[in-house]
C-alpha cells in the first residue's frame, strides 16, 4: 500500500513549489472558500458602517447633543476597527506571517495579534514585577500599561527587574516603545531611581536619571535611542548612569512612558524651571502638571559591583568611596527570669 492519501501523493509528486494556498487538499480548499466568503461579508459590513458614519457626520441638525453625536461616532469607528481585525484574523497566511515575526504593524490585524501576544505573557510579567517591587505606589499611584516597552543596553535586553551591571548601563539604553493602536503620539520618557539614600534624614529620595519630552512614536517606528534624542527640543535631563553606593540596598530604576494629551508639546522651559533638579524629582507632580497619562512601564535594578566606582568617577559623581553600614541595634539588657518558674 502506498503511504499517504491520494491527494497527498499528488501534492508530493508536483514538488515543493506549490504555494500554500493552492495545496490540493479538498477539505483545506473548501475551508478556504468558507473563510473567503466570510471575509467578503466582513468587508461589505465595513463599507456599510463607513457609509453610516459619513451619513451621521453629515447629519444636520442631529437630534441630540454634540457629545452624544461624538460618542456614537466613536463607537461606530471602534466597530469598524473590530471588523477590520475580524476580516483578516482567520487567514492562515496572516497567522504564518505573524508567527514569523514579519507582521506589518500598520495593519490592524497584526497590531491586534501583537497586543494579544503581549498581554498573554510580557504584560503579566512586568505587572508582577512592578507590583512586587512596589514601583506603582512609590512612583505613581496607578498604571494600566497599554504600550509594550522593552529596554536594551548595548544590544542586551534587560528583562523586567533584572540586575544590570553598572558598566553595561553606563550608556543610555535603546527603548522599544510599541503601541498597539493606530496613529502617532508624543510621549515623555522618564527614568527614575526612587531608592537614593539620604543618611542625614534617615530616608530615601527620588532621583531622575533621564527625562525627555515630545518623543514621537507610532506602531511602525517604535525604536527610541535615548542618546540620539534632540538636546534642545526633547531632552530635559540627559542620561546619568545608574549607580548604587556600596552597602546600599539595590536601586530600582523605573522607566515610564507617559503619553502627552493629543499632540500637544510639553514646553521644555516650563518643564526645566519647575523640575530643574535631578535630585528630589517626583514623577507624580510632573505628570500632573503636564497632564501626562502613564501608558508604559519598564523596570531594571542596579547594585554595587566592581565597575560602579569607575562609572561614578567617569560620570563625575562623588561618593564612590563611601560605604553605607547599618546602624548597630543594641540588644535589650539581660533580664533574669523569675527563678520560681524553673522548679
Amino acid at each position: 500500500m502506498p503511504i499517504g492519501s491520494r491527494r497527498r501523493r499528488a501534492a508530493a509528486a508536483v514538488g515543493g513549489n506549490v504555494p500554500f494556498e493552492q495545496l490540493p487538499y479538498q477539505c483545506f480548499q473548501e475551508a478556504r472558500k468558507v473563510l473567503q466568503a466570510d471575509r467578503e461579508e466582513k468587508v461589505r459590513l465595513i463599507d456599510v458602517e463607513r457609509q453610516r458614519i459619513a451619513r451621521l457626520e453629515a447629519q444636520e441638525p442631529f437630534p441630540g447633543t454634540p457629545a452624544q453625536k461624538q460618542l456614537r461616532l466613536q463607537s461606530m469607528r471602534k466597530h469598524v476597527e473590530y471588523l477590520k481585525v475580524q476580516a483578516d484574523i482567520n487567514d492562515p497566511m496572516v497567522k504564518k506571517i505573524f508567527e514569523d515575526g514579519k507582521g506589518d504593524m500598520s495593519k490592524p490585524v497584526y497590531r491586534h495579534l501583537a497586543d494579544r501576544k503581549w498581554r498573554s505573557y510580557r504584560r503579566l510579567l512586568i505587572m508582577q514585577r512592578i507590583i512586587q517591587m512596589n514601583v506603582v505606589p512609590d512612583l505613581l499611584p496607578h498604571i494600566d500599561p497599554v504600550i509594550d516597552l522593552s529596554i536594551s543596553f548595548r544590544g542586551k535586553t534587560a528583562h523586567p527587574g533584572d540586575f544590570v551591571e553598572s558598566t553595561l548601563s553606563e550608556e543610555a539604553p535603546i527603548l522599544k516603545i510599541q503601541p498597539f493602536d493606530r496613529g502617532e503620539r508624543l510621549v515623555t520618557i522618564a527614568v527614575v531611581d526612587p531608592d537614593v539614600p539620604v543618611a542625614e534624614e534617615d530616608t530615601f529620595k527620588h532621583r531622575c536619571h533621564f527625562l525627555a519630552c515630545n518623543v514621537r512614536i507610532s506602531p511602525t517606528s517604535p525604536m527610541v535611542k535615548l542618546a540620539d534624542l534632540d538636546q534642545e527640543s526633547q531632552v530635559v535631563h540627559s542620561w546619568l548612569p545608574p549607580f548604587a553606593q556600596k552597602g546600599t540596598p539595590y536601586h530600582r530604576l523605573a522607566v515610564f512612558v507617559l503619553q502627552q494629551p493629543g499632540l500637544e508639546r510639553v514646553d521644555l522651559e516650563v518643564a526645566n524651571s519647575k523640575a530643574a533638579q535631578r535630585d528630589g524629582f517626583y514623577l507624580r507632580g510632573f505628570a500632573t502638571r503636564h497632564r501626562l497619562a502613564p501608558t508604559g512601564v519598564g523596570l531594571f535594578r542596579t547594585q554595587w559591583d566592581e565597575g560602579t566606582a569607575g562609572v561614578m568617577h567617569r560620570a563625575g559623581v562623588e561618593g564612590a568611596d563611601i560605604e553605607f553600614k547599618r546602624k548597630r541595634i543594641e540588644p535589650m539588657p539581660y533580664k533574669r527570669k523569675d527563678g520560681s518558674r524553673f522548679r
Binding site: 495545496l23 473548501e30 475551508a31 473563510l35 441638525p61 437630534p63
Partner: protein
Amino acid sequence: MNRLKILRSAPSTFSGLPFRPRASNALPLFRPSLQNPFPIQSQTSPFSSTACLLKRKKQRVKQDIRVRHIKFHLAHPITPRPLRFSRHRALRHWTIHRAWHTHLSQVRRARELDLERQYESMKGACEALRTLGEDGIGYTIARAPEPNEDGTVPLQKAQEGGEGLVVIGGSGKGEGGKELGRLYRLAMEKKGIWQGVPIEYARIQTDTPGREGWDHGWKR
C-alpha cells in the same frame, strides 16, 4: 502474536487498565525506541524541581509511583504516538478548524435572526391590534416633537407626548371608547394555559431556572 507478547510482558498494573486504547488494525507508525526515553531522575519529594545530592545519599532515589506510571504508559509500545504536525499541516488543520467554527457561528446567527424576525413580526401584529380603533382603521402614533433652533430635542416635550399624538388614517373617530384594543385584550388572554393549576404558581417561561428556586415568603 507480536501484540500478545507485548501484553504478556507488561506488568500487571498495565493489563488491568480499562481506558487503554487498543488499536486493532493499525500498528503505531513510530514505535518509541527500546531505550527508555525518560531516564530516572533524582527525585525526593513528588513534583519537586530541586536536584537531590546523589553522592550524599547512597540509597536509591525514591520516585513517585504516579510519575512512574505515567512514564511507563507514555513509553509503552502500543501507546499511540503523540499528534505532531508539520508547520504547513498544522496551518491547514487550523484553517479547517477556523472555517468550521465560522460556519457554526453563521448558522447560529441565522437562527438568531430568524427568531428575532418572528418575534418582531408578532410584536408588530400585537401592536397593530392594540392601537386598532373602533372603526377598524383608525390608529394613533406618537410623533416626534419639533426640534429647537439648535437642533436639540426637548426631552420633556418628547416624554409628555401630549401634543405629539396625532391621528393618522381612518376617520379619526376610532380613538378612545371601550372598543379600542379589544382584539388585543382577547389575544392576550391566558385562558386554558394553566388548567387546574392556580395561577400563582405560574412563572414566565424561560430557558433557565430562576435565581431563587422557591419563594418561601409567599402567602396568598
